[in-house]
Symmetry: C2
């Protein structure tokens, strides 16, 4: 820490992304990336001609990209803002609407970035316990006056909320904002985007990083009432107007337009998830019911941390979290069927060694 | 404005980027882009194979990119951070080091974003007058206890400070930070990067948007003592760890490595600047002595605003600022020689019409 860092930031504990070791080639099942390349339409569109135009700024209003999103989600363009990944979109939301008086409530286990934004922007943070089975009971939020941020399906657990539960959550109070982070929604939950016309206190966040195979392009969205979107644009234009580069803008537009490939990828992931869930259950694992592109699982044969370390030795990266309630689990990103089979084989081997 | 926007942001006046009208094809001399395509090495590197990997996250530590910058600037890698354009880097700096107690002093005419960041993050802002001739006198900063941000060459005026002036500025007090924004430094000023080893209160900011022909890729840097860089990384990892996409990272790396093409582009811009300065002076314009890829010029024949409007009618976009001291000027980005000749021809025509 330098002597110039502002006092209020001196205890900042940054988000720790999944490791990206460079020592050897791993099967990467630790950062919820798609195992599939982007759509061929993306690859075709990012040609030499487009690269040659990188001397020109990107469109700060991201018009073509927002038009593609409006078309896909069937909503008006002024109900949408695009960002440099959904992390930036979330940062804009936290900065715009939450503060030290009216803070934000989140499930105790969720995307680890929510409390980090609260530290960064001096926002009151409330942790709401999950139920015994790791699910969220929306009734627990009925009396909360602060704003609410929930990932659906929830991060780390993969457990989804129903459309009706989201509607209930948003209806509990019109005096607070509800943010639904739908990073993983395409893998088995229902989107709340249609509710934004009915409720002016709902923001839905989405990303191109998972189901659209564009983690490396960094594009995310918020969908909400036009006055909320206008506020988010005020923050964006006060922070980084040209927040999305030219090539990512085109990539995301083309990925949204290619609905067939999107469906193919999502269906494959769901099939591979079923394969690996069946395997893990056969091996005696407890597996949380996932609607995402990852599963959280634990066994009583070996601790989560040791299983993570053993798998890493075997060339397979999964994610282990130190949070008390899930520190015996590992989180496995759903990869290709081949990757899932190698993972299964390695797990079987490790489990058998530990059983002896 | 929605009813949910935090009170502290209710008076936020966002930055207004240069216009990007879509009604017809303009000669764009309004946003200081390079008229030259990126290096062939950039175009070669962003091939189908790289685009196919967009399903994978980019390196949050931007190792290869930072290595290329370290190599070019001849400094250690832990003295460098990369961002999603220098606007994001500036935002991180303002957020990390400036606040309502210890704010920031900037020249009254400079990059319009500095006061916007101050509004966004509730930072005390001090405007320091320029001299009569629009230059900066570093002695005016001698007794300022707040931090200092200065663009060199200065934005809008194009006037540079010498290396010794920068050194004097940094030496005036070790108790404040000095940020030198070198967006335009390659077009005729001397970089202060070598000073960061000597002074732990200096941050130098640079961008790939101007002299490297990568405005549309969005990559910028800060160079400073490793403890300042560590603080900026703390903010970055609390805001958006994957802040640079995969393709821009490669593009910026390749652009830094191609020193020949960089020199060629910079030399062409300098030649074209001389051409247009000579022309404007012949036409009776007052032209500020620019060391940047733009010139600020005024005539007593037609107001800055009207000249801007007339040029726009003629299909040439320049930038006009409403700030009192420069509202009779227009700012002309230095384009290709062909663009400069068309600009000159249009100006001549407009001036002759007005003289009658």
């Amino acid at each position: 820490m330098s002597r110039f860092l502002s006092n209020e930031l001196s205890k900042l504990a940054p988000y720790v992304p999944g490791e990206q070791p460079q020592d050897k080639k791993y099967i990467k099942l630790n950062t919820n990336e798609s195992p599939f390349a982007p759509s061929d339409e993306v690859i075709k569109a990012l040609n030499k001609e487009e690269v040659s135009k990188l001397n020109l700024y990107s469109d700060p209003e991201a018009k073509n990209l927002i038009k593609a999103a409006a078309n896909y989600y069937n909503i008006e363009e002024n109900y949408i803002i695009a960002g440099n990944g959904s992390d930036e979109i979330l940062a804009f939301i936290f900065k715009a609407f939450f503060n030290s008086n009216k803070g934000v409530a989140c499930p105790e286990i969720s995307y680890g970035f929510y409390p980090v934004f609260c530290n960064l922007f001096n926002i009151k943070y409330i942790s709401v316990p999950l139920k015994e089975d790791f699910s969220i009971d929306v009734n627990d939020y009925a009396n909360i006056c602060d704003n609410v941020v929930i990932a659906n399906p929830n991060a780390q657990t993969g457990i989804k909320l129903s459309f009706n539960d989201i509607k209930k959550l948003v209806s509990q109070s019109s005096e607070r904002l509800v943010v639904i982070d739908e990073a993983y929604v395409d893998f088995g939950a229902e989107s709340a985007v249609p509710l934004i016309k009915e409720f002016d206190n709902l923001i839905v966040v989405s990303t191109m990083s998972k189901s659209r195979s564009l983690a490396g392009a960094r594009v995310g969205f918020a969908f909400a009432n036009s006055s909320l979107i206008a506020d988010l644009n005020t923050v964006k234009f006060s922070f980084n107007p040209y927040n999305i580069n030219r090539l990512s803008m085109i990539a995301a537009q083309k990925a949204l337009e290619d609905r067939e490939y999107f469906k193919f990828c999502v269906n494959e992931i769901i099939k591979n998830r079923e394969f690996i869930v069946d395997f893990l259950k056969e091996e005696g694992f407890k597996v949380l019911p996932s609607s995402a592109n990852f599963v959280l699982a634990e066994t009583n044969v070996i601790s989560g941390e040791n299983l993570y370390l053993k798998l890493k030795e075997e060339g397979v990266l999964v994610r282990h979290f130190k949070d008390e309630k899930i520190n015996n689990f590992i989180r496995i990103t759903i990869g290709s069927l081949e990757e899932m089979k190698i993972f299964a084989q390695k797990v079987k081997k490790i489990i058998e060694e530990y059983k002896i």
